[in-house]
Amino acid sequence: MNTATPVLRVRDLSVSFATRQGLVRAVDGLNLDVGTKEVVGIVGESGSGKSVAMYSMLGLVRDANASISGSVAFEGREILGLSDKEMQPLRGGQVGMIFQDPMTALTPVFSVGWQIVEQIRQHSDMTKAQAKERAVELLAEVGIPDARRRVDSFPHEFSGGMRQRVVIAMALSCNPKLLIADEPTTALDVTTQAQILELMGRLRDTHGSSIVIITHDMGVIAEMADRVTVMYAGRPVESGPEVDVVRQPRHPYTWGLLGAVPRLGERNERLATIPGNVMSPLDVPEGCAFAPRCDYVMDRCVQRPPMTGDAHQHACWLDEDRRVEIRSALKEAR
């Protein structure tokens, strides 16, 4: 975040859904800055509101019961609340998206080339032949062998990893300034995951896109991200440079997330978990959302802790001394 206007600047983004049981706050006060060519990770368990936050920015939350507030500025221009028509040049043109499940993300009845050409022609004046040529280039670039022949294949004729490459090629087809990747590797097997991450890193360098990567996998964050925001139950609980958050995590929830990454050489231990589940979004307490599952919960936690700190922010009432104490005890135990 060293340029004057960040590519993406999100302030106090909130998304809530009116349900029969009451108001569900899926995203509550998210702040995010994404600089040029920067990779920002958003991490949290399933149901922590990461994906909804990203979809709401581009107007992809179609639920009539949803209400979205806050501010989302793309290159300095407010985009929250734009109409579909005003949003169209942004979607797919300046902002590309990659989705979690490549098996269902492509329309099954059209060839992959057709689908890429469709997007290119939506955002540029290229002829069909030119766009097709570009599609072949893109497919080759994302590592699909024999791209000139494969461009006419249908989605079901590709494996999951190859389909995700197609989705990435499509997202990059208009050289977007920002790429939003929603759990791009979750549905893939481990070796394919590594390839896709490597590919995204390489494409960031060649296409110059900033990337927001949503994941629940701290390994992906460590691999890719420059900066990280950790979300719990719709709220940001910790954010900062990747090295700081991964090396010196400050929030008990982040400790738990990092503890849940299995390490080599610790064979006989059970896989570490955070006790309990993410609560139903209806039961999120007024105070700290993580308090019901937190080992270090205090009386103060009935009040909602604000995000404090400069570059490395966190939302927790634990004071610095106590935190260092617990951390060293945790390391000891490990």
Partner: protein, 322 residues
Amino acid sequence: MVSFVVRRIVSAVLVMFSISVMVFLIFFATPGVNPAARIAGRSASPQVLAQVTAEFGLNRPLPIRYGLMMWHLFFKQDLTSYVNIGVKVIPQITGAAPVTLSLVFGAAIIWLVVGVLGGLVAAANRGKWIDPLIMFGGIAAVSIPVFWLGQVVGLLTQTKFHSVFRWLPGSGYVSFTQSPVQWALHLLLPWLTLATLYAGVYARVLRAELVNAMNEDYVRTARAKGLSERRILMRHALRCSLISVVSLFGLDFGSLVGGAALLTEVVFGLPGIGMLTDTSLQNLDLPVIMACVMYGAFFIVVASAVVDVLYAVLDPRVRVVK
């Protein structure tokens, strides 16, 4: 694709063969029925019975009987009606088929256009007043019995508002070769009556499919690509939703051509296959019944084969099945 079509045709022929065997067994190998009497006609003399028995091999093994029956039915085409002695069966079928085909083809075009348009408009305007309005129209159209609608339409145009509908002819059928204009005029009300029910069904089915499709992941991808809502609906969602409409259409079209348009035919006095089947059933006219069943089965099998080929055109996932 070619091998797919060939395979589909071969299997259609096999299905036809099995149906013919089953129909034959039901009608001519059921214990207690004397097929010779059924073929020879009402009050036939013992000599005629003996002659029929010899000619159709009724005292010979079953497979030979089946072969001889098919030979007489399709190749020699000299099978005669049991009730109207001397009237051959095949010409009755070929006379009735164009009537039914004219009726069903015209109605199908109307119901496809109206149904698809209705489904599209309803799905595109989901949540606005026009969507429930179209869906209510659909359920109303589905609920009105054809015979009632036909009678009412006939009554209104022929009596109460006859001055307005003077240009409409009464019931009956005029062949296309005789007079194309009269053909169309005679069929206009039957077309609309028959199409009403199906247009309602198709509009509702297509709307449901479209609404489902619009919640699919690939539609979200299409939105994220920056496509307009109209393009997403018309290209992505509609194309995927048409697959189930096509399969529905194949079944409906096949069974209607095969005789299920009976009610419409009776109400409007159209001498089609449905009517022929109906009269032959009432008279227990076995040779005619058998021919009608075979004819109906033929169209259902052909329609489902055409549907499968269309499926493969619409859905590439079907195509590669080896």
